[in-house]
């Protein structure tokens, strides 16, 4: 069997697996966020928090919950790293420097998992397992909570109530992320991922002498890193490390974990707004863009147009033998079109166009299918924009799901889509204009520029992958990327929740013959076009200087 055919078959297998989980998982999540009942364990947790889960919150209160929880999380994670040197169970690793500790804390709380540290030499058990992996769960649960709040905004009328943040946070963690993680972690261990607390220990080698390994709770972190679209590796090589991703099967399973919640949330959305067809239209948009990008990636990587890769006879630089070009390309698209940023191969060594595809995937706003929760709310914002554009074309007040998209709503949506491009382009321009940041580049020319553009694209969009030649452990990059990650995560959430509150207060408008049918393929087409044009026009000049220049030169 040719590698190309094997790659296509793996993609098909992935589609089948995602298709089979779509309905049960989507419906389960809809029940989780609609149910009135609390599990006994949850009641106990609410008691410990001191929150009443049945209190309905309006959008400012919901937002305060999100921000308070996240502020506390950043401070806690920062502190944990700063005192690592004095904590037992840290393998004797020293405390992390302030700028890097800030960057890492911001990164994991913002569901980004950008890493300017080397996992295996810097973070001990306590920080990895008790700090970073915990944020993998809760930052994902926060993302889903905000998405669900927006969906409730569409579904509810004449109220401003969006649900209870604490209940959504706890339920997402306990009823969705934890059960899948327990099963998934064991699947990964069965494939060969490690799960122990042996710390740093010596093992024999073939030619004699010892080698040192860092053993830890890897599988349990790996699974939630993918499932929660976080992406922060236990080891520096991330999911390319054989202890994190041991074989072709674990690789396909990890790609599945990355995509399963973001896609299934469109079903949850459809269920909660009372029309699963509305969910299918969103799903269709996500799947179209994702498949298009995956196809392009497979094509450019198998064609390997780049001087060094041509010389080698294949684009295997930075890729593992067991995954090959097919398994690596599918992973690369999945990880950058969600907010994951885990890597099983190193994007910097992809072809010029391949690197460009990973960047554009993030620049679309990570909505196809996007991060857990953030993908759905990002896509719904684009749907609001698309409905608005369609409304302008025919001269009608636009409406979506029975809600009028008026001045107030479109302002929130417009602010949302301005945040990340502003962060990415301004910080990239600043870094290029200043003297020292460019000293961090490993590569020169167009690719050197791409390293910096990629870094801010990845940070502001909460992806976390990198053109890792860039030495990002400098005060400049630790600080600015840290700020980009926090603003890129929480400012959009402010606008999403404000929009949700505004929608929930409305009285629904009855559907007429002039209403745009947003559950039809025509709307999917309009939405795909809107996304490509908005992102394309925003980023085309920057992409032309980086990956396009590199790809066209090859």
């Amino acid at each position: 069997m040719s590698p190309v055919l094997a790659g296509v078959l793996q993609l098909l297998a992935l589609l089948v697996a995602l298709g089979l989980s779509y309905r049960p998982l989507g419906d389960h999540m809809a029940r989780v966020y609609s149910s009135e009942k609390h599990l006994r364990a949850e009641k106990w947790i609410y008691k410990a928090i001191g929150a009443d889960p049945s209190v309905q919150m309006r959008w400012p209160a919901y937002l305060r919950g999100v921000l308070a929880f996240s502020v506390v999380s950043v401070l806690f994670l920062y502190l944990l790293q700063r005192i690592q040197g004095s904590l037992p169970g840290s393998l004797g690793f020293v405390s992390i420097d302030p700028d890097q500790a800030f960057n890492t804390a911001a990164s994991f709380v913002a569901n980004t998992n950008w890493q300017s540290y080397y996992g295996e030499q810097a973070m001990g058990h306590v920080v990895q397992t008790g700090g970073l992996a915990v944020q993998n769960f809760v930052s994902a649960a926060v993302g889903i909570a905000v998405a669900v709040a927006l969906v409730r905004g569409f579904a509810r009328s004449r109220t401003g109530e969006l649900g209870n943040f604490w209940a959504d946070l706890v339920r997402g963690t306990v009823r969705i992320l934890l059960p899948i993680s327990v099963i998934g972690a064991l699947v990964l261990v069965a494939c060969g991922a490690i799960q122990n607390f042996s710390g740093i220990h010596e093992v024999g080698q073939f030619i004699g002498g010892p080698q040192q390994w860092n053993g830890g709770a890897v599988a349990s972190q790996e699974v939630i890193k993918e499932l929660g679209t976080n992406g922060g590796g236990y080891f520096n090589a991330n999911s390319a490390h054989p202890f994190e991703n041991p074989d072709g099967l674990s690789n396909l399973f990890e790609i599945y974990l990355i995509l399963v919640i973001p896609f299934a949330l469109t079903r949850t959305f459809g269920r909660m707004v009372g029309s699963v067809k509305q969910g299918y239209a969103i799903l269709g948009t996500m799947a179209t863009i994702w498949l298009l990008f995956t196809g392009l990636m497979l094509w450019t990587e198998f064609a390997h147009n780049a001087p060094a890769l041509d010389l080698a006879g294949g684009a295997m630089e930075g890729k593992e033998t067991r995954f090959g070009i097919g398994g690596s390309s599918i992973f690369a698209v999945a990880t950058t079109m969600t907010s994951t940023g885990a890597v099983n191969s190193f994007h910097s060594s992809y072809t010029g166009f391949g690197g460009g595809i990973t960047m554009l995937g993030m620049q679309l706003g990570e909505i196809a299918p996007g991060g857990v929760g953030s993908g759905l709310y990002g896509m719904l914002i684009m749907a609001v924009i698309a409905v608005f554009i369609a409304g302008l074309m025919v001269g009608r007040t636009p409406e979506y799901l029975g809600k009028k998209i008026g001045t107030r709503e479109i302002k929130f949506a417009a602010c949302y889509i301005l945040v990340t491009p502003a962060l990415v382009l301004c910080f990239t321009a600043a870094a290029m204009a200043l003297d020292t940041p460019s000293h961090s580049m490993t590569n020169s020319g167009a690719h050197g520029f791409s390293e910096i553009l990629y870094a801010y694209t990845s940070g502001a969009n909460n992806n976390g992958s990198a053109f890792a030649g860039l030495n990002a452990d400098t005060q400049w990059f630790n600080s600015t990327i840290g700020i980009a990650m926090l603003l890129g995560r929480f400012l959009p959430m402010v606008f999403v929740l404000a929009l949700a509150g505004s929608l929930a207060e409305q009285t629904p408008v009855p559907e007429t013959s002039g209403t745009l049918r947003t559950e039809k393929p025509l709307f999917t087409g309009l939405l795909v076009g809107t996304i490509m044009i908005i992102a394309g026009l925003t980023y085309f000049p920057a992409l032309a200087l980086g990956p396009l220049a590199e790809g066209l030169a090859a």
Binding site: L9, I49, G50, A51, G65, A68, F69, V72, S73, F76, G92, F93, V94, Y118, E120, Q121, A122, T129, G131, V134, T173, V174, L178, L186, V189, A193, I194, Q195, N196, V203, F206, I207, Q211, A219, N236, A237, A240, H241, P242, G248, N251, A306, P307, A308, G314, M316, E317, G318, K319, T321, G327, F346, S348, S349, T351, T442, A468, G469, E550, A554
Partner: protein, 223 residues
């Protein structure tokens, strides 16, 4: 009013802290301990790193972690020369050694991160190609540049790739047979026995585990 709002802020931050601590216990303590417990009972070998032993029962590494098969470093050399008696792994130009907590001697996994048009990478690939041709051509067998698969001249993502492609393994057969005084047919069979196909025929790529292959080779030469 102002007092009230400050009090309110503190109250909600306090709730946030309590939520974080409870969820840390659940997701950061109970969950990893439970998974570790089950994994250690159900898959002890894999959970502890898939160690493999040679014929004498000595642990010689992990099935999953690539190793170097080099000659001892000679005086004046910067990098050790490969021991051509053994099957050679892929290049690993992206590996590092620990720069913090330096009392440990850890290998840092990693890739070169060089772009496809990077001058270093072009040179590394050229040099690797020349070395593969030189090292693997024997009296009766000349390696052609077109025989060399891409994995033989490129570094992997982790730098710890435990595998090589079956093509690269086959390319090394003549050399390994000569250095170990075995017949080409014997070594060919060894490679065939240690070639893993795709899972279910289409998942992953065909590959040869270099450590397992070399352990078997050692048994064959010394057995």
């Amino acid at each position: 009013m102002a007092n009230n709002s400050v009090g309110n802020t503190w109250r909600i931050l306090w709730a946030g802290l309590r939520a974080l601590l409870v969820l840390t216990v659940v997701c950061g303590v109970l969950y990893p301990l439970a998974v570790t417990g089950i994994a250690q009972v159900a898959f002890p070998g894999k959970a502890n790193g898939s160690e493999i032993q040679d014929a004498s029962g000595k642990v010689v590494g992990s099935e999953l972690i690539g190793q170097r098969y080099d000659l001892p470093l000679k005086d004046g050399e910067e990098t050790a020369a490969p021991d051509l008696k053994w099957f050679q792994p892929r290049p690993s130009n992206g590996l590092g050694s620990n720069s913090v907590n330096t009392r440990y001697k850890l290998i840092l996994s990693g890739a070169t991160n060089r772009s496809g048009d990077n001058a270093d990478l072009i040179r590394w690939v050229k040099d690797a190609k020349a070395a593969v041709i030189k090292g693997n051509s024997t009296a009766g067998h000349q390696v052609k540049p077109s025989d060399i698969p891409a994995d033989a001249v490129t570094s992997s993502g982790s730098g710890l790739d435990p595998h090589i492609s079956p093509e690269y393994a086959k390319l090394q057969v003549h050399r390994v047979a000569e250095k170990n005084h075995l017949t080409v047919a014997q070594v060919d069979r060894l490679v065939a026995d240690h070639t893993d196909d795709r899972v279910l025929g289409f998942i992953g790529e065909p590959r040869v585990n270099v450590l397992r292959l070399n352990v078997a080779l050692k048994e064959l030469t010394q057995g």
